[in-house]
């Protein structure tokens, strides 16, 4: 199987800080892949580069063999990479359904009448189905501002998914979310994956990552220090080094 998404030899510096250095990460088609590493190891920077929010200093990004290096976010999304943000970002002054409709209008086709009413019947139905699937359909008509933190996470995931991207990059989906919702989230991700969506997940919750991902890549100081199935990663000394070198809590999680 070829990699669906591949970052090859990516380097990125912010002033004097080398956030990424010769970083190569691959995600296989149909996988749920994990990306872990201590704080500041470059996970989010890599996400930003893959989705067009940052430009690389060196290296390339490929989606299904096609070079997408330094493409703009709207283009990357149209090509089939969806993402969520670490600090959940929704459109607070739009209704939940309107939030969904922003994304649907692009997955379906492009050259359409811009003055047509937002969201045709089919788009609305799809959006509502997706909200149904994530369990927040009751709030479709409410302003997104009124949602709880967990519901916002679900909304962000839903509107990324409604455009049916080939791969979804999740930046800490379980961060700050209660355990029952984490289970709900993991279930949804498995279900979507079974239906064909590929995932790349950045997460600090090790149980979540190890339970969900078939392949885990570990970043430290902007480079890949290990990659493989979770069973192997868990006991890899380089991974323990990377985590134990930062905080004890993270180290505990990695050895668990």
């Amino acid at each position: 199987m070829t990699a669906l998404l591949r970052a090859e030899g990516v380097a990125k510096a912010f002033g004097g800080v080398q956030a990424l250095q010769d970083c190569t990460v691959e995600v296989e088609q149909g996988a749920i892949a994990g990306l872990i590493g201590p704080n500041g190891s470059g996970k989010t920077t890599l996400f930003n580069i893959m989705t067009g929010y940052e430009r690389v200093d060196a290296g390339d990004v490929y989606l299904g063999g096609r070079k997408i290096t330094n493409q703009r976010p709207q283009r990357v999304f149209a090509l089939g990479i969806g993402r969520t943000f670490q600090l959940t970002r929704i459109f607070p002054r739009l209704t939940v359904l309107e939030n969904m409709l922003i994304a649907t209008q692009h997955g379906v086709g492009r050259a359409r009448n811009p003055l047509a009413r937002a969201g045709g019947r089919a788009e609305r139905r799809r959006a509502l189905e997706m909200l149904e699937f994530s369990g927040i359909a009751d709030h479709a008509g409410a302003l997104a501002d009124t949602l709880s933190y967990g519901q916002r996470k679900l909304l962000e995931l839903s509107y990324v998914l409604v455009a049916d991207p080939a791969i979804v990059l999740l930046d800490e989906p379980a961060g700050g979310v209660n355990p029952s919702l984490i289970q709900h989230l993991a279930g949804r991700i498995r279900e979507l994956n079974a239906a064909g969506t590929t995932f790349l997940i950045v997460e600090h919750n090790m149980d979540f990552v190890m339970g969900l991902c078939g392949h885990v890549t570990v970043l430290d100081y902007g480079t890949v220090v290990a990659a493989g199935p979770p069973g192997i990663i868990r006991s890899d000394p380089r991974v323990l080094d990377a985590y134990l070198g930062v905080t004890e809590e993270d180290g505990d999680a990695a050895t668990r």
Binding site: G52, R83, Q151
Partner: protein, 350 residues
């Protein structure tokens, strides 16, 4: 929070009522000059229509996408000078001058494209400052270029219409412009394009990450807004009869338009309209009443402060909330049902 079905019902109910209200307002405005022939009043009325169209147009850009422009006077003045120069060059007078208004809009659009491409690269305060800079550049240019008439400005053709009905053509053209602009605002707000604008207002980068091509969308709104503002400026100029740089490119124009939109409700359809219909006549009346133009300016500033501090979201959204709250208290939206729904959702997604 309402359920989806409930919200749909509200939307349906919320369609006919505004449509009827809009029809009633247009009908009243259409017969207004027949009922009121006092030239002082109709002069204020024409001025109000011009400013209402400009406020609604400003809101299509700044209200919907959240980029506060303080440079729309550039387009207002451009429209004024376009009519002045074109009418002089082609020796037009009377009704044919009105036919130049689309040209005024076109020239304003042509000016707005490069300005938009520059200013829309930056956001928030930087954007505001750049639009102010454009405004001063335009005023300086109008003062110093030879073909704009310099500091003495340019005279409009003076039609030899009967004094008793002199204001009527201006009034009806202004009304047509206002109705068309409001219709455009309504159409845009509910459209795909309008949704993209409002998404940009809430979180531009996130919108880009969902496929919204932010620059073309922002620029389109900027240009549409400039077209109407240019036409409003052209009409205002023909009506006033003269344009000099500091009045065609007037910082108070921007301030007035912004206060009108904020007062009524930024980003709403009827808000800027309501703001203009209240503030402009009040300002004109005060100026006439006290013959001290600074009084109305001081009051405008005071009103601006009062709105920002007391009604930051504007009359229309605040009133809308109050009505919803009242309805809920009267039991139109069954409170128990709403609570149960919230509870269910809470279980699924706490």
């Amino acid at each position: 929070m309402t359920s989806w079905a409930g919200n749909r019902a509200i939307q349906r109910g919320g369609r006919t009522l505004p449509a009827l209200a809009a029809l009633a307002v247009v009908a009243v405005l259409a017969v207004f000059p027949l009922a009121v022939t006092n030239a002082t009043v109709t002069t204020i009325a024409v001025d109000t229509l011009v400013f209402a169209a400009a406020a609604v147009a400003w809101n299509i850009f700044s209200g919907y996408c959240g980029y506060i422009s303080l440079g729309h006077a550039v387009f207002f003045g451009t429209g004024a000078y376009t009519i002045g120069i074109a009418a002089r060059a082609w020796h037009l007078n009377g009704d044919p001058v009105f036919a130049l208004l689309p040209l005024a809009g076109g020239v304003a659009a042509a000016v707005s494209v490069p300005l938009g491409l520059i200013a829309l690269r930056v956001r928030r305060h930087t954007f505001v400052v750049i639009t102010i800079a454009f405004f001063f550049i335009a005023q300086l240019a109008a003062t110093n270029l030879s073909w704009t008439g310099g500091s003495s400005g340019i005279l409009a053709p003076s039609p030899n219409w009967a004094a008793t009905t002199f204001n009527d053509p201006f009034y009806y053209v202004g009304l047509a412009l206002l109705v068309a602009t409001t219709a455009a605002s309504w159409l845009i707000r509910g459209s795909r394009f309008g949704l993209q604008l409002r998404a940009i207002r809430d979180d531009e980068d996130r919108a880009a990450g969902l496929g919204v091509r932010t620059m073309p969308v922002k620029l389109a709104a900027f240009v549409i807004s400039a077209i109407v503002t240019g036409m409003a400026g052209g009409l205002w100029f023909y009506f006033i009869g003269q344009a000099i740089p500091q009045f065609a490119f007037d910082p108070l124009f921007d301030l007035s338009v912004v206060v009108m939109a904020f007062f009524g409700g930024l980003g709403t359809i009827s808000g800027p309209l309501l703001g203009a219909l209240i503030i402009e006549p009040a300002q004109q009346w005060l100026t006439l009443q006290y013959t001290n133009e600074y009084l109305s300016e001081i009051l405008l500033g005071a009103l601006f402060l009062a709105v920002i501090l007391g009604l930051p979201r504007g009359v229309i959204p605040t009133a809308g909330e109050k009505i919803t709250a009242l309805r809920a208290r009267r039991g139109r939206v069954p409170a128990r049902e709403a609570v149960t729904q919230a509870g269910q959702a809470g279980q699924a997604a706490p």
